[in-house]
Each structure stands twice: as structure tokens, then as C-alpha cells.
């Protein structure tokens, strides 16, 4: 078997475009997931029963379904739902890239919710009492006192989840979005060079994720010293 490195070199500009999309998707999904996840966590910990139930239901649903299925759902069902709402003659196309972003934000929100919930619960209740005693409102207490501490405590876990997310984004391949893996797959099939392309992609993922995990581990020790 002849291993052809020039294939990879020639494909680099195209692969880079795919990689950029992977990064973009990871960043947007992490930021959006953290934002909505935090809101979900606050809802799960709220004293309003209905709010708790809705948030818990959402989180459990998302966590019990394979990610691929959620991606499929959105890709095929959302256009139909939009059609039903707007009354258009044909289902409006959301597009693979946009579907992927929405899906990942919604899916990751469930996971980030559980992390932030644990983080909020790790803060002693006395912190809430002392904030209230100073006259801070609920939202000020959360925004200024509880969430910054919870976020800090959970930072290593949040980063680890983001690394997992970075790998999971490769699943957008199933709706033909051209992420890093998608781009590699297209080149591999066009030139019949599957071994080279898939090995290269695996190597890049491994190098990045492994070194990032090491960095997170170091960060964890650093945070442990400060506390």
C-alpha cells in the first residue's frame, strides 16, 4: 500500500475550512449551551414547582436520546414545523450548518445545566443568606455572588465537556455539513484515499484533545491551590 502524503497537503485549504467550521460550531454551542444551561439550572433549582418540572423534563429528554437522533429530528422536522406555522407551500430550508448550531446549543444546554446545577449546589447556603441580608435581589445574588463562584468551581468540568463537544460536533457529518471530518470524508471519497485522510483527521483530533485535557488537568491543580 502506498501512503500518499501529498493528498493531505493538497487538501489542506479545504480541510482548514472544515476545521474552522468545527471550531465555530464548538465555540457557539459551548457559549449558547452554557447560557441556556445556566438558565435551566436556575429553573431546576427554583422554588417554583412547575419551572422545576419543565426544566427537569427537558434535561432528561435530551440526555436520554442519542445526539444523532436529535440532529436528524431538527434537520427533518423543523422545516415541517416551520411550514405548519408559516403556512408556506414548501418546507423552508434551515440549512445543515444552521441546524447543527441550533441542535448543539439545545443538546449541550442539557449537559451544561447539570454541571452548573452541581456548581450552584456546591456553594454554601450561607452565601445566599448573606447576599439577601445585604438587600441584594434574587437575580443580583445569582449574577454577582453565586454564579461566579459556581462557574469558577466548575471550570475544569465545563472545559472537559467542551472538549467532548468538540469531538461530538463531527456528528454533523450525518446531515452533510462540511465540518473537519465532513471535509476529510469528501476528499477521501473523491480521491479514494480513505486511509490517509482518516488517519490525518484522527491524529489532529487526538493531538488537540489530549493536549487540551492535560491543560485542563493543570488548571484544576492550580484552582485547587487557590481554594
Amino acid at each position: 500500500m502506498n501512503f500518499d502524503l501529498t493528498i493531505i497537503v493538497n487538501a489542506l485549504p479545504y480541510l482548514w475550512k472544515g476545521f474552522q467550521y468545527t471550531l465555530e460550531l464548538t465555540a457557539i454551542a459551548a457559549a449558547g449551551g452554557l447560557f441556556f444551561g445556566t438558565l435551566l439550572a436556575l429553573a431546576r433549582l427554583s422554588s417554583i414547582h412547575a419551572l422545576q418540572m419543565v426544566a427537569a423534563g427537558y434535561v432528561n429528554l435530551m440526555r436520554s436520546i442519542p445526539l444523532v437522533l436529535v440532529i436528524f429530528w431538527f434537520f427533518f422536522l423543523v422545516p415541517l414545523i416551520l411550514q405548519a406555522i408559516t403556512g408556506a407551500t414548501r418546507p423552508p430550508q434551515v440549512g445543515a450548518e444552521r441546524t447543527a448550531i441550533i441542535t448543539f446549543i439545545m443538546f449541550e444546554a442539557a449537559y451544561f445545566c447539570e454541571i452548573m446545577r452541581a456548581g450552584i449546589q456546591s456553594i454554601p447556603r450561607g452565601q445566599i443568606f448573606s447576599s439577601y441580608a445585604l438587600g441584594l435581589t434574587y437575580s443580583q445574588t445569582m449574577r454577582l455572588v453565586i454564579l461566579p463562584q459556581a462557574f469558577r468551581n466548575m471550570l475544569p468540568v465545563l472545559l472537559t465537556q467542551t472538549i467532548i463537544l468538540f469531538q461530538d460536533t463531527s456528528l454533523v457529518y450525518v446531515i452533510s455539513a462540511t465540518d473537519f471530518v465532513g471535509a476529510a470524508a469528501k476528499v477521501a471519497q473523491r480521491d479514494s484515499k480513505l486511509v490517509e485522510m482518516y488517519l490525518f483527521v484522527a491524529l489532529v483530533y487526538f493531538t488537540l484533545c489530549f493536549s487540551l485535557s492535560l491543560a485542563v488537568k493543570q488548571l484544576q491543580q492550580k484552582i485547587a491551590v487557590i481554594r
Binding site: Q127, S130, A133, L134, G135, Q140, V145, Q149
Partner: protein, 244 residues
């Protein structure tokens, strides 16, 4: 008009009654010490004053406002009452100075400079000005508690509540906190203190309230209380904590 008035306050945790028909008051400028065995409801009683604990029956009036009334603006009411906790509860992600500034800016709407000036003045007063840029985790328990008192005072409170302020401290740090509290009492601050420090009570308290099993058993002037407590339970309690 009393600064804080309790009228037949009852509170239950599920089926367990933690406060039974508690009626008493704290006048302006008065220092009232609340003592009693653990689980007697004294911390719960003091937390009802600024609605950190809800109560089911009765009424608490603070400076003319009913705490239990649904129309009462609780954040506003709470901002007028300083509170000091057993475990200090400073915000660990903020410096000492930021701890004092936060509520002044966010609740009272003071400007940053005005708040910082006030904070520095109070830190100086509790002997903590040199530690202003430090984080709470870098301070001893006694120092943290002095900062916590300054944080409460920064809101210009009409009364201060102390919930076992020295119980979590190492013995050698108790006095530095009590000294600040004594000074505060001498300046005429209205204070309600849950504490076992009977030396503090003798020195500055006007009245002592003794609680047991959720009831106010004894509510007497300091001299009456330490002279001849009327109830057997209070006598027993005093003999237990004063024999050493």
C-alpha cells in the same frame, strides 16, 4: 415605637414547631442578647427579623414595617438591617474592599468613589484597612468576622443582628470580634445578638432573652437575669455555662 417588635410569632418546620408564641421587642439603641441551648430556636428567631426564615403566624414589625406582609419590599427592608453570621459568609471571589462596596453600589446606588470611601473608613474602624486588597481566604477567622461587621455597617443600618458571631472562632480570636461589638454597643447601635458570650452580655446588654424549645422563657433586664433568673430552665442553663 420599638425598633423591632415580635408579636406572637409561631413557626413550624413541617410538623415540628420551632418558634412558640414569641413576643418581645428591641427598643432603639438597645442591646438585646438572646441565649439558650442549641436547638432552642434563637437563630431562627433572629433570622425571622429580616425574613431569611419565613414564619407562619404572628407579626414582626421592624421600624414600622411588617416583615411578613407580602407588600413589604424585602430587599429594601433587609438593606436597612445589618447581619453578621456564624461562618462570616464573606464573598470569597471578591477582595475585602469589594465585599464592602458591592451592596452599597448595587443596592443603595452609591457611586463607586463614595462607596470606597465609606468602606475604607469602616475597615479602618475595625482595624482591617491594611487588608483591603486581600481575599477573605487569606484572613484569619477573627479578621473575616471583623470585615463582615464592617460590611454590615457600610449599609448604614438602623439595627444590627448577630447570629453566633464568635461560635466558629478559635478562642484567641473571640476578643477582637467582641471588642468591635462592644464599641458598637457603646455608640448606641440597636443590636440583637445570639451568643453564648455571657461576658459580652454582662458588659453591654440591656436585656437578655433566654429561649428553650422555641419559647421565650425569660425576658429580663441584664441585672435581673444574672441576679435571679426566675425560671428553672434558665437557672440550669446558666449554671452549665458559667461554672468554668
Amino acid at each position: 415605637m420599638p425598633m423591632i417588635e415580635f408579636k406572637s410569632v409561631n413557626k413550624w418546620y413541617g410538623g415540628f414547631q420551632v418558634l412558640r408564641d414569641c413576643t418581645t421587642k428591641v427598643e432603639k439603641g438597645e442591646v438585646v442578647v438572646v441565649c439558650g441551648p442549641s436547638g432552642s430556636g434563637k437563630s431562627t428567631l433572629i433570622k425571622c427579623v429580616n425574613a431569611l426564615e419565613p414564619f407562619q403566624q404572628g407579626e414582626i414589625i421592624v421600624n414600622g414595617q411588617s416583615v411578613g406582609d407580602k407588600t413589604t419590599n424585602l430587599p429594601r427592608l433587609r438593606s436597612q438591617i445589618g447581619m453578621v453570621f456564624q461562618h462570616f459568609e464573606l464573598f470569597p471571589h471578591m477582595t475585602v474592599l469589594e465585599n464592602l462596596n458591592l451592596a452599597q453600589v448595587k443596592v443603595l446606588g452609591r457611586g463607586a468613589d463614595e462607596a470606597a470611601e465609606k468602606s475604607q473608613m469602616l475597615l479602618k474602624r475595625v482595624g482591617m484597612l491594611d487588608h483591603a486588597p486581600k481575599f477573605p481566604g487569606q484572613l484569619s477567622g477573627g479578621q473575616q468576622q471583623r470585615v463582615a461587621i464592617a460590611r454590615g455597617l457600610a449599609m448604614d443600618p438602623i439595627a444590627m443582628l448577630f447570629d453566633e458571631p464568635t461560635s466558629a472562632l478559635d478562642p484567641e480570636m473571640i476578643n477582637e470580634v467582641l471588642d468591635v461589638m462592644v464599641e458598637l454597643a457603646h455608640e448606641g447601635m440597636t443590636m440583637m445578638c445570639v451568643t453564648h458570650e455571657m461576658g459580652f452580655a454582662r458588659k453591654v446588654a440591656h436585656r437578655v432573652i433566654f429561649m428553650d424549645r422555641g419559647e421565650i422563657v425569660e425576658d429580663a433586664t441584664k441585672d435581673e437575669f444574672f441576679g435571679t433568673p426566675r425560671s428553672e430552665r434558665a437557672q440550669l442553663f446558666l449554671s452549665k455555662i458559667l461554672q468554668h
